[in-house]
């Protein structure tokens, strides 16, 4: 069975580009704090979502809606409304992280298929089976901290479909549990849908040297011909003990393209591409690349060499935790 390519879309144009480029499934979010990419100018209003889903279905693709932030006390209705609207838009599944919201969706929208977001950080078979038994979760997006062997071990002990990230930005923390951004800005991906919110980011370039500031703090400085990273604290360059370096992680992108055969053997159902904040150009290029890879695998051809380095943060790529070579 062909592995499913799950592709990001931050705008209706990106959704159409993804579908035309061969995405089996597209994931997106409403234009509010219910999803973890709540950026200016991004995401879908209800009408755009309805039209986007109809377009995808007409072309044989599925759409998932990420409602994967954690409802704030007293404001749960915003998240409840998002789940109800997702169902009325005829979405194929919702991607949820919060236990309370999963419970709400299971009770009030039992016919709406539920996936567990990477934000829930479900990293072993016991917790995944708990989500399946309690909330009838059909698929789990695994956090980017597992090796291929660990993923295989999980799949051996659960009937729940697994979806893993194969390309795009990396988070060093267990997803759903990172509050680094809030220390500098007061806002975090978990509660507000934004890591390093744009209105707290400031760039200054002087004589080719680019400074990035977040919440008033300089978090990295790159020289004239050095690639620029995203302005996140986890990719910041800090000084300590007379040395400076990337304390948490280097600015690189995940690219597990060459591991797709191993991921298939490990029982993975779907391959996820990160980047709802990226352009339709990115979406089209990355989807075509990965669709070509899974089709080659299915046909028994060798995996093609990708051309995605220039699209990667830091213009460098890693296989991340899938190959824990440091062990």
């Amino acid at each position: 069975m062909v592995m499913e390519i799950v592709c990001p879309a931050g705008t209706p144009a990106a959704l159409r580009a993804a579908v035309k480029a061969g995405a089996h499934t597209v994931y997106c979010g409403f234009n509010d704090e219910t999803n973890a990419r709540n950026f200016p100018g991004l995401n879908f209003d209800r009408q755009e979502m309805r039209e986007g889903i109809a377009f995808a279905h007409a072309h044989g693709s599925k759409v998932l809606i990420a409602i994967n932030t954690f409802p704030r006390a007293g404001n749960e209705a915003i998240w409840h409304r998002a789940v109800a609207d997702a169902e009325s838009c005829h979405v194929d599944a919702v991607i949820l992280a919060d236990l309370g919201l999963l419970d709400y969706a299971a009770r009030n929208h039992p016919g709406l298929r539920r996936h567990l977001s990477v934000q829930a950080a479900a990293a072993n078979a016991d917790v995944i089976n708990f989500y399946a038994q309690t909330f009838d979760v059909k698929r789990v997006v695994l956090p980017r901290v597992l090796s291929v062997q660990e993923i295989a071990a999980i799949n051996a002990e659960t009937e729940v479909e697994t979806e893993v990230f194969v390309f795009g930005g990396l988070c060093v923390m267990a997803e759903g549990r990172c509050s680094l951004s809030s220390y500098a800005t007061g806002l975090s991906p978990n509660m507000n849908g934004v890591c390093s919110p744009a209105n707290h980011v400031e760039y200054r370039e002087d004589k080719g040297v680019l400074d990035a500031r977040l919440g008033g703090y300089t978090i990295h400085r790159v020289g004239q011909n050095e690639p620029a990273p995203y302005p996140t604290l986890c990719k910041g360059c800090f000084g300590a003990s007379n040395k400076s370096g990337h304390l948490f992680e280097d600015p690189v992108s995940l690219n597990a393209e060459q591991l797709i055969p191993q991921l298939q053997k490990a029982g993975v159902t779907a391959l996820k591409i990160e980047g709802r904040q990226r352009s339709r150009s990115y979406v089209a290029q990355v989807v075509r690349n990965f669709r070509g890879a899974v089709d080659a695998l299915e046909a028994g051809r060798p995996m093609p060499e990708g051309m995605l380095t220039r699209l990667s943060e830091g213009q460098a790529m890693t296989t991340g935790a899938y190959k824990k070579t440091w062990r």
Binding site: A17, L210, R280, R288
Partner: protein
């Protein structure tokens, strides 16, 4: 869509020197009329700008001797071309070919940022909103000009295609490949 992001072509320095002496007022008026025409055919672009639809942006083609100040003005945009630094809450700088390629969806904005071909200064949120709104609008600047050029539209599009072939600048929206 472009297959990968190759080197960004620069505007010919000789032609840029000529632009140092051209009068800018007619250019401003023409670009304002042109952008208002685009605004009429792409109203969603301004909706997507949200809270930033009344701020001013400075677009700085670093290989040209002027900057372009864009005021969306809630859907009735005004464009001012100036040889000064320009006035706006956010400045987006890069080679003209990169800025035009972004408008046409040929390049990815984050990738241009990683490679330092694009620099954003000032209100990053405003710049992000503009980038996302334009990316979603699926604009084709050559087609928009042709639409108001009457009998000259055909030759104009041929000329645009000729220049694009010889300069590698995305003057039109790249053709999308056939659906998978």
């Amino acid at each position: 869509m472009s297959q990968s992001q190759a080197l960004i072509p620069l505007f010919p320095p000789g032609l840029a020197r000529v632009l140092r002496v051209i009068p800018l007022a007619p250019l401003s008026l023409s670009l304002t009329a042109y952008s208002q025409k685009i605004a009429k055919s792409h109203p969603s672009l301004f909706r997507r700008l949200g809270e930033f639809d009344h701020v001013k942006f400075v677009l700085d083609p670093v290989d040209l001797p002027f900057v372009i100040c864009l005021a969306p003005s809630g859907g009735v945009p005004r464009v001012t071309v100036t040889r000064g630094k320009g006035d706006g809450v956010a400045r987006i700088s890069g080679p003209l070919a990169a800025l035009i390629g972004l408008v046409h969806g040929a390049y990815d904005g984050d990738a241009l940022f990683f490679s330092r071909d694009l620099v954003v200064e000032g209100d990053t949120g405003a710049a992000l909103a503009l980038r996302n709104a334009i990316d979603d609008a699926e604009l084709d600047l050559a087609q928009e000009i042709a639409a108001i050029s009457g009998p000259f539209s055909g030759p104009l599009l041929h000329l645009t295609a000729f220049i694009q072939r010889h300069t590698q600048v995305y003057l039109t929206r790249p053709e999308e490949a056939e659906a998978w």
